[in-house]
């Protein structure tokens, strides 16, 4: 199957096994060596990856901001392309989203901000 990596993979919506939103493909990792065809190995998600994609004047400041705001350790977060179940307008990944580190920011905001507001 032919794939246009930028058109068909980059920036697409990712969903987990249950069809719940995981995030979008913020970056794509390619393993490169001089003498064999390069391989696309991982999707990358996270604020750091997004900050790096901006034009130079914004890059540094936003990347520092992202470092301060996001939970430590899992940014950026990588998903192996071997876990792709289905390619299309959304890309389905065979992982359990509730425990995935891709949800870390979402869960952090839920537990530290939203949960403190009554009626949430």
């Amino acid at each position: 199957m032919d794939i246009a990596v930028v058109r068909d993979l980059l920036d697409k919506q990712l969903v987990d096994r249950e069809g719940e939103a995981l995030g979008r493909v913020d970056g794509i990792i390619m393993a490169y060596s001089a003498d064999a065809p390069p391989r696309i190995t991982h999707f990358e998600l996270g604020a750091q990856t997004l900050a790096r994609r901006l034009p130079r004047p914004f890059r540094g400041a936003l990347s520092a901001l992202a470092r301060r705001l996001t939970p430590r350790g899992d940014d950026p977060y990588r998903i192996e392309v071997g876990r792709i179940v289905q390619l299309g307008r959304t890309i389905k990944i065979d992982i359990d989203g509730t425990r995935s580190a891709a949800r870390k920011t979402e869960l952090w905001i839920r537990d530290h901000v939203i949960a403190h507001i009554p009626g949430s």
Binding site: A4, V5, D26, G27, P38, T49, R53, V81
Partner: protein, 104 residues
Amino acid sequence: MRNINVELLLDREVKDASGRRAGRIEEVRARKEGDEIIVEAYHLGPEALLERLAAPVFRLSLFRALGLHKHAHGRRVRWDQLDLSDPERPVLRCTVDELQKLVR
């Protein structure tokens, strides 16, 4: 073996050994084989960008009437023709003239 971020390759200028410009990287073509996605070629130049961003514009009869579509051009670089050992400065392993033209 090293890891390269594909999204950061976009818009990078590719030159050949003599310093001649071949165009900017706009698209990466690959094929999926089982669990693997194997890169086959890089597409350079405005044609490749249009292919990615504004394909429908080509269908607009106005665009065609103005003859603008003839000016867009692009080149296809096979995976083995591109040296990415410095991803900031992609260099061709051949000359610009040896590259295949993207035709619509």
